[in-house]
Symmetry: C2
Subunit: 641 residues, 2 copies
């Protein structure tokens, strides 16, 4: 969506909105951290974000990459900056093409700073001299695909202090096809509003977005003011100078000053605020909270769908996904990125038949072995694994090999059941409670337009040991309201689903709209998920040395246990699934599973792994002198070696 | 669906099923009557129907036409008979092509009777000699598209009494590609079952369907028995002969005899019964009721959708329709018959943009002027029109110009509101009450697979006088839960619908399925319906002489009143729409609207129409001596002349 459309919308609704600017970090770890931060800052509800242009080879690639991830994975409407500095036409073309392919529809066209080694800005050979040339080129090449923003300098810029001349230049940029203006940072509202009046007097009517720089530290505040030569009202210095050595105090007072400035802007009819976040969340969040612009229980963020919609090219209409990737959004985006069409309205023929292969998209376990072992410990028994799951279900662990994010608030109503089930050795991978028509504004379950109702069928995806799989399926098949799919690593599938079609497990009814059914359970995608599920399990096992007890117990789990998804189709029954497991408890859970290799009838050497798992209940991993067959540990189930 | 699949399904469910055979009537009125009867007999729940082949030009066309109407309009799975008699290959090809185009997938291939003028059967030049040749030809030409039935003669046939030889012939027909057998009528179950054993012994394994002839009159019973040379058990004669002059008694006793015979067949594992209805409903219905096979409140007919699905070519997957044609199903089928794709899952891009033009499909008012005047009287005032609507809402009138069938049971819960509204001069054209999750087996609101829930938003389509249209719209727009479309004859449209998309007003949630939303409200189709609506009104007006008071009052209504559809989007509110009309009542409803033509300032002659409306409240249609402008009658609304 074009930024100017979004601004028009907030103007129509007379509602203050805001946006965030990020820049490409220097390190890979920095990039990952920034993605996590962008993900969290999505929840503040920005109208869009900006990614600045990283001049130079690696950084400009990173800008394109970040735009793509922000659009497709985080569903953030993104504006890509583009500068003339060091950019010949082919580079400009490549960058625009990347932006287009990412689904990006907003460009901020800038001249850019001079390259570090030069003092004065010079045009690149075959490149563009002025931002207005770049604007015109984008407009000529892409028509109205891109909304094009340009910079406004309310207090002069580095190499030009004549404010009137700068407004003339601004007019030229607008005449070349720009559709919105983002200003440099400033602290003096009077100067800014005066400048806006002058801009309007010149016949420039497109929206003007003020750039807001929150205050992180006194030193940074002063440095930036000096560098941009913007006027700092004396009252600001008076308020901040005395406390300049107390960063916390500076942020607190700074928050008040910046928020007051924002209030004056909003009162003057400047409804959209653009925050220079400097890739940090805190100072910006404090200002937004002070302004009452962050979502809370009373005014929760409007979620268009129960999952985060992607804004990648061709995906804007997508509104149906399988439930399986709910905790691995990024992987779903990756494995479906090559689809020609995305399900819209229904999961039908529109869907491309194939999910991307695991290896092609690097969807395996993230993190180093050390990090993962630190997270999930060194399990030597089913009980140890159960403890990991229980900690996750209790909110004491932020991820599992199959879940990138902590357990959701939505699980609150079934949390006790989940904890209990995992404690008994039934490992829950994914779940949702039944919802029988909650208001679409419901703080936990709600999504979609106002005045609607949302529904869910109870869902449970659970890893079941071979000793109980037959019993659980027998119980399921007795209940006409329950449908299931069960599969093992080898891909043996068992189901009682009626026909091949999908089962809608989340849907919503809204005024004047078709029914929306954003989440489904379905065969083909379950089998694709199953591959990913068992691969992630193997990746977890592989974090441990090849003949270690932890490697062994996890491998045994994924080699022999069944992944089962269960839907209770009567969404008016609140707790229909858990009774299936009444009275069932995996036996001998505490018994360590040993690394016993039966090779030609001889017991293979275990090595000494006792050093590996000191933290896990103090249980050392050594055999007790007798030869175990592998089947001992899993109660009589035959295991192929 | 193939008949053999249907039989397999009833075998799997161990459930007795049945089918009906009809023949092409000789007169046009007979055809219309038969359609009405087929429509009613659809509600008995036959698995399929047969249409016999009408040998000869007009009748064979009629067979094709009836197959098409049965498939597309009445949604009856139809088996078309086809005979070799008088049929050269080009005629066979044409008939098969017609069947194919109708969506028909079942053919009963017969040799046929000799043409009337000949005593002995002879093959037509270039035609087929034996049914087996026809079977082979259909199989060769159409592969497995058609299920092909053949006739079985359990007691010999006209020109061959050797039962064994006939079984040999049957075997040849099966070997040529037949997939089911329908037998001649019979009354002796022992002979039949014995014959079945012989057929099976010959290695014929395809399903055998017994032909059942209910008893209408004693004379017909004896005539048919004699003609088909089938054995009548002596007990039957003993039971029927003494009462042979009392038709009612014969049908009653005959019902018992035929039902007993059917019971024996069902007990012998012959689960499907094919009734030779002779185009009559009563005798067949009596037998079915005696057998407990007709639907009732406890075992209602399973409705796959809230409206009758069409089985026309390409329409089997159709599952979304606009609500507007609910009472004019046949017209909807006709006006959309040329669509390339039919909405399935959602009303979206799949839908062809255009509805057929009114004139191309003859969707105007049915019946002669005399018939229609007899039905709806000779209204001279709004009050008279209101009376017509009130009678319809009270179930005392079976049709309105806009409704081909009586008011549905579904309206029971809102009937009083409807009657009241019409009495006050707001004419309701279509409506449905809100339903907040009725079981899919609900006898009135239910549809779709078992163990599901169905929902409806309250809907009202109403004709509103110009004096109140602004007030009603003002009230509507105050309520965020209500969406509407209002249009007049000229096509001026007003709506508060959010965007162009459809509004689902009926939907269902079923175990293991996607959400189904079979009924929607939407702009393009509403405008197509609006044309039909005003045309039907004009057709009604045209039933009366050109300057008659009735013509005038109806024309005034359709020229100036607004057609408004209203959806209350909160389906949990049972009666949300009717309060919009609180306190509103069309004024001066009883005042006759005169046929006053202001021509050059002079009152045109009315003629004497008093003879036309003696029945309507005794109000004679003559002016009261003063010159009225037309606006007098509609309270100040300007009307173009």
């Amino acid at each position: 969506m074009h930024i100017s459309q979004k601004l028009e919308q907030s103007r129509r609704e007379n509602r203050a909105t805001f946006s965030f600017e990020f820049f490409p970090p220097k390190t890979a770890q920095g990039v990952q951290n920034l993605y996590d931060r962008m993900d969290r800052m999505h929840d503040f509800g920005p109208s869009f974000i900006d990614i600045t242009w990283g001049a130079g080879g690696r950084l400009s690639h990173l800008t394109c990459e970040m735009v793509k991830v922000a659009q497709s994975v985080y569903g953030l409407e993104t504006c890509m900056h583009l500068t003339c500095t060091d950019m010949g036409k082919p580079k400009i073309d490549a960058a625009l093409k990347e932006a287009y392919k990412s689904g990006c529809t907003n460009i901020l066209a800038l001249r850019g700073d001079p390259p570090r080694e030069k003092e004065k800005w010079e045009a690149t050979a075959g490149g563009f001299r002025y931002a207005k040339d770049l604007v015109k080129y984008i407009r000529d090449t892409y028509g109205n695909h891109f909304d094009i923003g340009v910079a406004g300098y309310s207090e002069g810029c580095e190499d030009q202090e004549d404010s009137d001349l700068l407004i003339d230049h601004l007019k030229e940029k607008v005449d070349a096809g720009a559709t919105f203006i983002v200003t440099q940072m400033f602290y003096d509202v009077d100067i800014f509003l005066n400048w806006v009046d002058k801009v309007r007097a010149k016949g420039i009517t497109i929206p003007i977005i003020p750039g807001i720089m929150p205050i992180h530290t006194y030193a940074a505040f002063m440095r930036r003011a000096t560098w941009t030569k913007c006027h700092v009202p004396p009252a600001w210095i008076e308020a901040l100078e005395p406390i300049k050595n107390d960063d916390v105090e500076v942020r607190e007072v700074g928050k008040g000053l910046v928020a007051e400035m924002c209030r004056r802007l909003i009162n003057a009819g400047i409804l959209h605020l653009h925050f220079y976040t400097m890739n940090l969340a805190q100072a910006t969040r404090m200002v937004l909270e002070e302004l009452g612009l962050t979502p809370d229980m009373e005014t929760p963020l409007e979620k268009p769908l129960p999952w985060r919609p992607s804004l990648a090219l061709g995906r804007r209409e997508e509104n149906v996904r399988p439930i399986f990737w709910r905790n691995r959004n990024r992987s779903y985006i990756a494995r479906t990125q090559d689809w020609d069409e995305f399900p819209n309205g229904r999961w039908g023929d529109a869907r491309s038949p194939a999910f991307g292969e695991l290896d092609a998209y690097g969807v395996g376990l993230k993190g180093t072995n050390e990090q993962n072992i630190k997270l999930w410990g060194k399990p030597v028994s089913i009980k140890d694994i159960a403890d990991v799951f229980v900690r996750y279900m209790n909110g004491k662990l932020n991820s599992l090999p199959w879940s990138e994010s902590p357990i959701s608030k939505e699980a609150d109503t079934i949390q006790e059941d989940l904890v209990d089930l995992n404690r008994r050795g039934f490992f829950t991978i994914n779940s949702q409670p039944a919802v029988d028509g909650a208001k679409s504004s419901h703080p936990v379950h709600g999504w979609g337009p106002r005045n609607g109702y949302v529904y869910q069928k109870a869902y449970l995806e659970v890893l079941i040991s071979p000793e109980y799989i037959a019993e659980v399926i027998t119980r399921i098949e007795r209940d006409p309201d329950i449908t299931y799919y069960a599969v093992n690593k080898a891909g043996d599938l068992k189901t009682n689903a009626p026909g091949d079609g999908p089962n809608a497990v989340t849907w919503g009814v809204f005024p004047g709209k078709e029914i929306v059914q954003p989440t489904i359970v379905e065969t083909v995608s379950f089998l694709a998920w199953k591959d990913e599920f068992y691969r992630l399990g193997q990746d977890w096992a592989n974090c441990y040395p090849s003949s270690s007890p932890s490697r062994y117990v996890i491998e045994d789990l994924i080699d022999t246990w069944y992944l089962v998804n269960i839907v209770h189709n009567d969404f008016r029954v609140p707790h229909g699934i858990f009774p299936l497991f009444n009275g069932l408890q995996v036996e001998d859970m505490e018994k360590p599973l040993h690394t016993v290799g039966i090779v030609n009838g001889n017991e293979a050497s275990n090595g000494d792994h006792s050093a590996e798992n000191p933290a896990v209940n103090g249980a050392a991993a050594h055999t007790n002198g007798t030869v175990h067959t592998i089947t001992d540990g899993v109660n009589g189930v035959e295991l192929k070696n």
